[in-house]
């Protein structure tokens, strides 16, 4: 299959401006970014429940990631119950635009009032919605680093995977998990 070029936006017309996401060429990059962050946050959208991977759904991978790296999770849309059913309690749940709106506020002291977040990892939002939310953060939250963990290139993140096949994507996620779980 001839995929979209790796660093083209997945939706053809969603062309970004001059500043574009750096491409995560190796999964190691992600684990390194996470390790370096002081107050990371993982934001999981509803598509994480729908995407099936080899060892479960995307949400199962994200739970492993959150547990391994001890990252608090914000569940968006209605999927918070899906986490709890899997024995994992997200730190918070709120609409996607709400968490983004807090992240652009320089006075917001983060979830649980424990200090500003310096890294936000996004996964599972509808592509175009993630595109816009990451754009909002790119423009209005200059100190925050963002990572898109979806399988398609998200140009407004600070870092994003390129467009991947589902198999490549799964492999990348697995390497990240193995690295973090090995810590």
């Amino acid at each position: 299959m001839r995929m979209a070029k790796s660093t083209e936006p997945w939706m053809t017309a969603e062309i970004p401006g001059p500043k574009k996401a750096l491409v995560i060429t190796k999964p190691k990059v992600v684990s390194a970014i996470i390790r370096r962050a002081k107050r990371p946050l993982l934001i999981v959208g509803h598509e994480a429940v729908e995407i099936e991977l080899k060892e479960g759904r995307l949400i199962d991978y994200m739970i492993r990631l959150a547990e391994a790296a001890e990252i608090p999770v914000v569940a968006t849309a209605h999927i918070q119950g899906e986490f709890q059913r899997r024995g994992f309690k997200p730190a918070s749940w709120m609409p996607a635009v709400d968490i983004a709106n807090r992240l652009v506020d320089s006075e917001w002291m983060g979830l649980g009032d424990e200090g500003r977040h310096d890294l936000a990892l996004f996964v599972g939002l509808p592509y175009y919605m993630g595109w816009l939310i990451l754009s909002g953060l790119k423009h209005f939250s200059p100190d925050l680093k963002t990572v898109s963990l979806d399988m398609h290139y998200q140009p407004h993140a600070s870092w994003s995977f390129p467009n991947l096949s589902i198999e490549e994507y799964e492999k990348n996620l697995r390497v990240i998990l193995e690295e973090l779980e090995g810590d």
């Binding site: 001839r2 509803h46 849309a77 918070q80 807090r102 939002l125 175009y128 423009h139």
Partner: protein, 780 residues
């Protein structure tokens, strides 16, 4: 325009016949009739309500999600506005985004206002400027609540509405001028102007709808407006079929009149798409609605329509090309949408019909509605047998052949707004499995972007339609024809229960059909809230989608629920311009039920609505600039609006912050004391990711500071119940909505009291809430 500008005062007038001294002519016959004292903001200018707007904007701060990193509006550009960079003109990104929102709302408002002007001119010509504005007989005394509120006048006759339109047109020009390079520089001032655009848009919609109700005799605030046919499968293809598309109804009315006058209506089908479809069924219940805007391509390509008549708004720009594919003549009828066609307005009907029948021309422009009506009917009858329903939908064998050639390049999928897995579904057809392709139909918005993207030029949308052929034929439902206004008596009956919170909310499903997962989500939401005894209103394409559902007994939502403005009703007000009756209803609650002064008294009425009327707008598939301006009209009234995920592309949300306690204080009008009331309502404009999220938020956004304890406990019950069912857990913010223990739903008392204790909740009072210090009766 201030009222005084309607009054010409002439100190000395020198004319041929002599000199006139101290002459005063009141042009607005409308002005002096109203005994109610004039309020502070009649005909407000673009800055008169700025203070009110800022109050709202301080609570609901804009969150911008730039859709574009650059600005390209002038030749200084493109300017890179990434981060905190400024353009060559000094503008920053937040101002640029709000400027684009203003532009969108100006386009939307201009469209409704121009529509109103066009329609009104036609109606005055046909029915006379003295034709009375009657929108509900003795049941509706407040015939034009928005116009009264904004302009401070009581329109009585069609002619009175012209003055209103003069004012509106002036406002649009002023607003638009603010978007020029080097004009407005503050994002908050842009936002205030956005609200202004929304407010005048509401007036424009009201003018259009009350004029057509009065002149054409549409249902007059009738809860029992007839149930009419809707769906792809409702048109009888054995007859000549005329399809009307758009919003401005005169040509379509003339089609029906011509058919009726000539005894032909039994032989010809009149069908419609988009709001013109609503309007024809309001005029004649025999007419049929095919579906919302997204049904355009599938219906045209099916070959069922023999003649296509387009007027204005939301019509595909390639309608002529599509019409030609099925050899259906097209008649354009609006000067706003001429489609490159020759203007045949002044030619005799015979000559035009003959050219269309012979195929000499694929389409014509006719700006005289009566002539367009006659030509449409005669052409349809003449062409139907020749066309033999020539269609542009492929055969299954074509689909399989194409599937074999498909390169699996994903270009179609990457162009699809809903990321539908077209290549995979196409591949499945090689094995003879059309189900996957057919299942895409339910979520396809009919845009054909996939087709434009495909390097092999496959008509992919048509493939989907072919695969779903059976479903299409079974699309037969009922919708209640647009009833227009809400009666004053209905307002009196439900005003108390709404303001006290005992009817848990008024929810309006409005707007276009750019849905993330198909229109059935609208029907599901509408049914859920009607069952819960909310008042559900619908309009436009959303009103159609709400109809496209059947229960086990084969009944659609409008058959199951009554059309009354009361708990459990599902009320189709009508087309886009009928949205004005939704705003009108909430305004009338303040004026008729609560007896607040209406005349030019915008701020007080909006303050009342914002603090007391638990109304929420849901524009789940909002797509257009008109939808943007419609939403902004509600924002200025303090009514929250929820959009679907595609609505995030409006690029700006207005979000409250429930974690900032300081944002949620109101004055207690009894004492002047500032009282914390919790985040009620939490947001003014917000895009939900899923239907489930939206439903929980709808219930939450219905809470208002004024709810009685009984009302609050009912609203909380619905919020908690929906949250439990759809999220699978208790909400984490219940403590913010409980003011006294009497607010706590009795059935969940123990559980909630425990939560309140954990959260360190403190008891509070229920104030007489207002954001306006001038409404405080006694200083504390």
């Amino acid at each position: 325009m201030p009222k005084k500008e309607f009054v010409i005062k002439i100190k000395d007038l020198k004319t041929d016949i002599g000199i006139l001294k101290d002459f005063e002519l009141s042009i607005g016959k409308i002005i002096e009739e109203w005994e109610e004292e004039a309020g502070p903001t009649e005909f407000p200018t673009i800055k008169d309500l700025r203070e009110w707007d800022f109050k709202l904007l301080q609570r609901y701060r804009p969150f911008y999600m730039p859709f574009c990193d650059v600005c390209c509006l002038c030749t200084f550009g493109k300017c890179d506005l990434t981060g905190n960079k400024r353009g060559a003109c000094g503008l920053d990104m937040s101002a640029q985004q709000s400027r684009i929102v203003l532009l969108a709302c100006c386009i939307g408002a201009a469209t409704h206002i121009a529509h109103a002007r066009h329609l009104l001119e036609h109606l005055i010509e046909k029915y006379g400027s003295d034709h009375p504005i009657d929108v509900g007989g003795i049941n509706v005394e407040v015939e034009a609540p928005i116009t009264r509120l904004v302009c401070g006048i009581k329109p009585r006759k069609l002619g009175d509405l012209e003055d209103v339109l003069d004012y509106l047109e002036r406002q649009v020009t002023q607003l638009l001028s603010a978007t020029h390079t080097g004009q407005e520089g503050s994002n908050l001032d842009f936002e205030s102007k956005v609200f202004h655009a929304g407010m005048i848009d509401q007036v424009g919609m009201e003018v259009a709808d009350i004029a057509q109700i009065a002149a054409y005799g549409f249902p007059k605030a009738d809860p029992d407006a007839p149930l009419v046919d809707i769906g792809f499968g409702t048109a009888d293809p054995t007859k000549p079929v005329i399809l009307v598309i758009g919003h401005n109804v005169p040509p379509a009315i003339e089609i029906i009149d011509y058919l009726t006058e000539n005894g032909l209506y039994d032989q010809v089908e009149v069908t419609g798409l988009c709001c013109t479809a609503h309007e024809i069924t309001r005029y004649n219940p025999k007419a049929k609605i095919v579906g919302p805007i997204s049904w355009q391509l599938r219906f045209i390509r099916s070959g069922v329509p023999d003649v296509i008549v387009v007027d204005e708004q939301c019509i595909r720009a390639d309608s002529l090309i599509e019409a030609q594919k099925v050899k259906a003549p097209l008649i354009a009828t609006s000067d706003k949408n001429c489609l490159g066609l020759k203007d045949r307005t002044n030619d005799p009907a015979d000559a035009i019909v003959s050219d269309l029948l012979s195929g000499k021309t694929p389409g014509v422009l006719i700006l005289d509605p009566a002539k367009a009506g006659e030509v449409a009917v005669r052409t349809a009858i003449g062409v139907a047998h020749k066309r033999k329903k020539f269609k542009a939908i492929p055969e299954t064998s074509d689909i399989i052949e194409s599937a074999k050639r498909c390169r699996r390049c994903d270009e179609c999928r990457r162009a699809c707004p809903n990321d539908l897995p077209i290549p995979e579904a196409l591949a499945a057809t090689i094995e003879g499995n059309l189900d996957e392709l057919s299942s895409l139909y339910d979520e396809c918005v009919g845009c054909a972007r996939c087709e434009s993207a495909c390097p092999l030029g496959f008509p992919l949308h048509s493939f989907i339609v072919k695969a779903a052929e059976r479903k299409l034929k079974e699309e037969r439902y009922k919708v209640r024809a647009g009833r227009g206004a809400i009666q004053d008596v209905e307002i009196r009956r439900v005003g108390g229960p709404i303001v006290l919170g005992e009817i848990p909310g008024v929810i309006a499903f409005v707007g276009c059909a750019n849905y993330p997962h198909g229109g059935k989500e609208i029907a599901e939401m509408a049914m859920e809230f009607a069952k819960r005894r909310y008042i559900v209103l619908t309009s436009g394409c959303a009103a159609m989608s709400a109809a496209m559902y059947k229960n086990e007994e084969g009944k659609s939502p409008y058959e199951i629920h009554p059309g009354i403005f009361d708990a459990g009703g599902i009320v189709n007000v009508g087309s886009c311009v009928a949205n004005s009756h939704i705003a009108g209803a909430v305004i009338k609650i303040a004026s008729i039920f609560a007896r607040r002064k209406l005349r030019g008294n915008y701020e007080e009425i909006a303050d009342y609505i914002h603090n007391r009327v638990g109304a929420v707008g849901v524009a789940w598939g909002a797509m257009s600039q008109k939808a943007a301006s419609i939403a902004s009209g509600f924002w200025r009234l303090g009514v929250p609006v929820i959009v679907g995920p595609h609505g995030s592309k409006y690029r700006r949300m207005l979000l409250g912050r429930k974690d900032r306690k300081e944002d949620w204080y109101v004055y207690d009008a009894r004492t002047g004391e500032k009282v914390y009331v919790g985040p009620t309502p939490e947001h003014l404009f917000y895009a939900a990711e899923t239907k489930e999220e939206a439903m929980v938020m709808i219930a939450k956004l219905c809470m208002r500071p004024n709810d009685t304890t009984k009302g609050r406990s009912i609203k909380l019950t619905h919020y908690i119940d929906l949250h439990r069912r759809l999220y699978g857990t208790m909400p984490d913010d219940i403590h913010l909505f409980v003011r006294t223990l009497a607010d706590v739903p009795i059935t969940m008392r123990d559980e909630i009291v425990k939560i309140l204790e954990e959260k360190g909740w403190e008891q509070n009072i229920v104030p007489d809430p207002t954001l306006l210090p001038r409404l405080i009766r006694r200083r504390g």
